[in-house]
Symmetry: none
Subunit: 194 residues, 4 copies
DNA sequence: AATGAATGAGGCTTCATTCAT
DNA sequence: AATGAATGAAGCCTCATTCAT
């Protein structure tokens, strides 16, 4: 595939991805047909297959793009903060903010994780997120800031807290991100023993 | 529907539910066809519709039954333990054990939560689980065992930790439940500030 | 088939026929399943196939029985009335009365006439009804009571009037049979030129 | 649904309707499968659902279209004929002619009238036909051309005669329409008392 | 780049009928 | 006589994908 797209072409492509993301979030991936997507945009079916090889590729692209975007947001937020625990706290808050601004992606990611067709892509994403956190945790342990425990387990626990609070308060609900962030950070830092 | 089932009938019904659960866990709900289920059991397609109105109903039944079973396990484990924090710890460990013994259900539940067709059933299940935990937390707060914070948020955080560690170490992996349980409990109790 | 039935057996059979007739009238033959019939009677499926070879046979039996009954009613009403036009008038009224008392059969017959599977049975029934009327008409022509016209056409016209008024006023509606009968007879006798 | 169809598309749609009408007339609606229709046209199954939402909609469209066509024929035939009885006579003959030219539709309409799924559409059609005739009858009564009787009943009687003779002589048989028309008109006008 | 049309495999469900008990 | 269970063909419809224009 990999077409060279004009300016307008790139816009169409993004338009398709956004619309698809919204529909996937609302109804789920399988129940949303390619016809649904193009119809909701008022274009013909050919358009879709001009920009994507298949419905499957579309979702994969969505996952990749969103992950990339979230990651950039986190990195920008953390900057060169030296304190490892603070870096975790910042990362947590950045994640919450990003999901608040991209509600749709939450359920898509959630779904993709349960589907063998997409789990691989997701797995890779998750590993990177995990890796980042683990690095900070190791730094913290080395620096004596928290007790010496399995950093992977700790990282997973942190992710679990973020995931759960995100769903409830930012995706399903509409809580101020500060309040949720404060609770999440507090729970995690204490949980880590810091 | 509600048929009067004979002994044999009840067995068939359960057989269908178990087999379906396994296939749903392996391939996902939508990609698993009714034909797949009955074929894998070597029976005719009609059998399925003798016991269930639809594929959708089947999943709903699976969700209901598994939730019921998990809940019973927790209650049995907690017994009449008076200490609220200990009750949470026991509940956490019981959940981990149950999921280790019923791996299939984990991904099914995970998926169902992302699908508007089943979210309602799931939501109800989740609310009960949450409610239980919240009750313990309030007791703990009243007893001065942990600081006064929003118990719902805390409960969600605990569930998040459990969910994440379960997936990684008991569903995808095969870690001894004790080690995982210890980490989970430790993280949570510290996180709660207890 | 042709079983020797006990008293109770004959009752069951009739019960099935009546219930089926009602359901066929309400929903149509094809859309009514054997399961619908037996369920609505609270019995097992075996019962049905004990008394009838097939769903098709059931409808044929219903058609035969109802035709037989209607014919008996007409004959009883006509008795030995000597005037051929009066015999037609009496026949018309008798038909109207019978259909008022057996609404269900009207739409069943109507349907069966359009279906190649049952048209044969129906055709035979219709021919007898027609034959009766034609006989009266020929008598009337010979007796100089009405002009000499094609008696078959006349007979069909009479049946057409009866059918239409029956549907509107006795099946769909609930008009007194006398009023409808008077109109039908008047229209027909004038139409015949009598 | 409501698609924008190209020239070719409109042709396909009509082709499907005509073919379906023929098959429905031959075998009945329920016994004719969508597969039968598309196969007999040598196209894929998807084609059908590109043009119609369902098999049910297809029949409804057929009924609507045929009714529309019959009505136009009648109106064209009647023109501005001033004599109300003559208008009825012309209408009767026009109906006979139309059905001779569209045999298929006769049994379809006949069937649809007995099926609760289509009765509504049919009912509306029938009401218009009835309404037209009633109007002429009222004119005739006012003009003193026929005795004062319930015009609805009379109209139904007329329709009944037409229906019956149509079936026998033009659909099942192949009589010259003039002869049948003459008999129908004569019977009806006398029947009306004109 | 884009459209309407077409394909055809495959999914869910129904149902007449048969069978073991 | 009767029941619950089972069969499996067949029906309706969906949908990812391709094609001609």
């Amino acid at each position: 595939m990999r077409r060279k797209l004009t300016q307008r072409g790139r816009q169409r492509r993004e338009q398709l991805m956004h619309r698809a993301a919204r529909l996937f979030a609302e109804r789920g991936y399988d129940p949303t047909s390619v016809a649904d997507i193009v119809e909701s945009l008022g274009v013909g079916k050919g358009v879709f297959y001009w920009y994507f090889t298949s419905k499957e590729e579309l979702l994969a692209e969505i996952l990749k793009a969103s992950n990339h975007d979230l990651r950039r947001r986190q990195e920008a937020a953390i900057g060169d903060e030296p304190d490892p625990l603070e870096r975790i706290a910042i990362g947590v808050r950045a994640s919450l903010e990003w999901f608040r601004d991209h509600r749709d992606y939450f359920s898509i990611i959630q779904f993709a994780a349960t589907d063998e067709r997409f789990a691989p892509v997701l797995r890779r994403n998750r590993e990177t997120a995990l890796g980042d956190t683990i690095r900070h945790l190791k730094d913290a342990i080395v620096a004596g800031r928290i007790p010496d425990q399995d950093p992977e387990m700790l990282a997973l626990a942190v992710l679990g807290v973020v995931e759960q609070l995100t769903r409830r308060y930012l995706v399903d609900g509409d809580e101020p991100v500060d309040r949720v962030g404060a609770a999440a950070v507090s729970f995690c830092l204490h949980g880590l023993g810091g």
